[in-house]
Symmetry: C2
Subunit: 387 residues, 2 copies
């Protein structure tokens, strides 16, 4: 694959009550095109990642909708896969570029969640799960709480280790001007926060967010001398929709399968990754992800996070979720998978400011739908064009 | 592109109150795999076309959902673009195959509409349009009625010519065992049917339907000596979401643009097409489509349909909507774009039974979203493998 990230941008994530989805989309796409130094006339296709616009807003047809808003009459698609919608839109864009059908495309992730009642949003999000889970009254915090309980039982993972994930990601978010939560927290803050689904506390959970992110991808080589970023792997796998249908609760098979494919495509090993944006929808999810991705052996990630091994400024060779992750940066579901790519692009170009991972050459993005029914992995590499 | 249709199947379309979406999907995918002579283990990715499952059923994440139902842990995606969802899923599948990322994939279009109150379905379908259209009380029959009125004013199209589209497509559907309406109708029946949005009568409108269709696509060559079908073009274009934002009401710019791209890709001219499945959501839409596709000059399609020039058994070189089209075969919106490919595959293989277009070598599928904001065109060609 010779596919390059020419431009990348994200809006601030948060409760953006005064901004419509179309305004978020316009701003972020314009910013990504500016970053790429190009006009919209150079765009040949638009891939939109979004989950909830139909259920919450009765608005579908978002490919044409946003193409229209952006003044583009190009091929346009909405790709949906719950909280992995952004990652899946990326994968389809990468395939479309690799096919030679298009040379330059935009991937836009966008979600507007905070204008709705939280219980409506929670119900809409369960659209990612099964009828059986809904009938049983399950919510995603409840499902991930079961994963956490089992991980504690099998691997001795502690409540303090879960808190360490949240503390780290809030610290990283405090350095990110686009993060929803820029306030560092302590383990005591997590402990004192309300219990949502035992053992998960409020501060173990990613928030409900508004936001958008966009990248300009192209098979054209980056301009001479410009630091750029190449996509060297894009892999997707699925698992059963219901947690109750799985043999293993403490690992996501979809992540494991997608990781194997992605590392093979990129011809690297997990040890080669310097910076990872992983899907920490709940604190336990980051621990499970680090193990499923092969960045740590099963049962070893929680202690590593607690020791600070993947924290900015302390890490020796890998920083996890420098953006603040879903937990600290926010989780507008359709935008998250694209925002991960934006963060990696900034890290690999060396333009991530206060949260720069020093010397980062290879980055990995891991985006999950539902309780692990979909997993998408992208691997990005810093390249310097000598063209 | 070296992409072949190895298997194709459709369920019966209609009011399938006793059959769930998952059962429809399983049956039709199994039938398409059987047609291809392969096991599900050979499938590497699943592309699902669906529009309304989120709004009407609160079920999203359909890629993983149906992969799970089918026992596949492969890459899976939902692609949505209103009534063009099936066509857009096809396009993304074609790109993914052309990229070399996958060798064999399934495209599944599925929609369940008749379990809901008609007014809820009508409101959900307006999710394909704009806020402004919804606020104005517009519905799709209303929007297409405006197109019809303007076509009558500019090109002298008559009420009798609109009826001729419906009569032809019901006649074709009467020959299709999977069609929703197998009863031929007369022009008098159309005249006597209730007025929905003047000048459109009930029998000018495609119905609300349940149904599913699936194709197995592969870059592997078909088996020796087997008649097979190749996809030689796949093109998508978009236009403004709102009809009121367009300069021209009597042509869909998205169709015109996608057609130009598709004919260039296939290196053929409109005159080379023997069989076309076009998006006749309303009778006027077939007339507009035939002109936008370049199959007839603007203002000349209506008379051609009335003369019987595109009717099975009378046509000299082109038959339009031998399946019965959306009007006669039914229109489960996410399934329609895939069903068009199934129909063309049967026609080009020569297995279409009573509705066989004699000597068909080249077929065109035309799928539209909304009032023309999205258009997708595929061109298919009969090939005989000598491998």
């Amino acid at each position: 694959m010779n596919i390059f990230v020419h431009g990348a941008a994200t809006t601030v994530f948060g409760e953006l009550w005064d901004t419509s989805p179309r305004t978020l989309a316009k701003r972020v796409t314009r910013a990504a095109l500016d970053d790429a130094g190009m006009e919209s006339s150079g765009v040949e296709a638009l891939f939109v990642g979004n989950m909830l616009s139909g259920i919450l807003g009765n608005q579908e047809h978002l490919g044409a909708f946003f193409a229209d808003e952006l003044g583009l009459s190009v091929a346009a698609f909405k790709v949906e896969g719950a909280c992995a919608s952004g990652g899946l839109a990326m994968h389809n864009a990468v395939a479309a570029l690799a096919s030679g059908m298009y040379t330059t495309v935009v991937v836009l992730g966008v979600e507007k969640m905070t204008d709705h009642k939280p219980e409506d949003v929670a119900a809409a999000l369960m659209g990612a799960g099964t009828d059986e889970e809904r009938v049983a009254g399950a919510t995603f915090p409840g499902l991930y709480a079961m994963i956490a309980r089992e991980h504690m039982r099998l691997h001795g993972t502690t409540r303090a280790q879960l808190s360490a994930v949240a503390v780290k990601n809030h610290y990283h978010a405090s350095l990110n001007p686009n993060a929803q939560f820029r306030k560092p927290i302590t383990a005591k803050d997590v402990d004192r926060s309300p219990c949502i689904a035992d053992p998960l506390k409020l501060l173990d959970c990613s928030p409900i967010s508004d936001g958008a992110a966009a990248v300009v991808l192209s098979t054209d080589k980056p301009k001479k001398g410009k630091e750029s970023v190449a996509i060297v792997a894009s892999a997707v796998a699925t698992d059963t929709l219901a947690l109750s249908d799985r043999e293993d609760l403490v690992g996501l098979r979809a992540t494991q399968q997608a990781a194997r494919r992605a590392f093979t495509q990129a011809n690297i090993s997990p040890d080669d990754v310097h910076v990872a944006e992983v899907h920490d929808c709940f604190s336990i999810a980051e621990i499970v992800a680090l193990e499923d991705l092969g960045l740590y052996a099963k049962g070893e990630a929680a202690a590593a996070v607690e020791r600070g091994d993947v924290t900015l400024g302390k890490a020796q060779h890998l920083v996890v979720n420098p953006s603040g992750g879903l937990k600290g940066c926010g989780h507008p579901v359709g935008a998250t998978g694209v925002k991960q790519i934006v963060e990696l692009a900034e890290q690999l170009r060396g333009t991530a400011g206060e949260r720069q991972v020093s010397g980062a050459q290879i980055g990995l993005a891991h985006n999950v739908g539902g309780s692990g029914a979909t997993a998408v992995i992208h691997i990005l590499k810093r390249v310097t064009s000598s063209k």
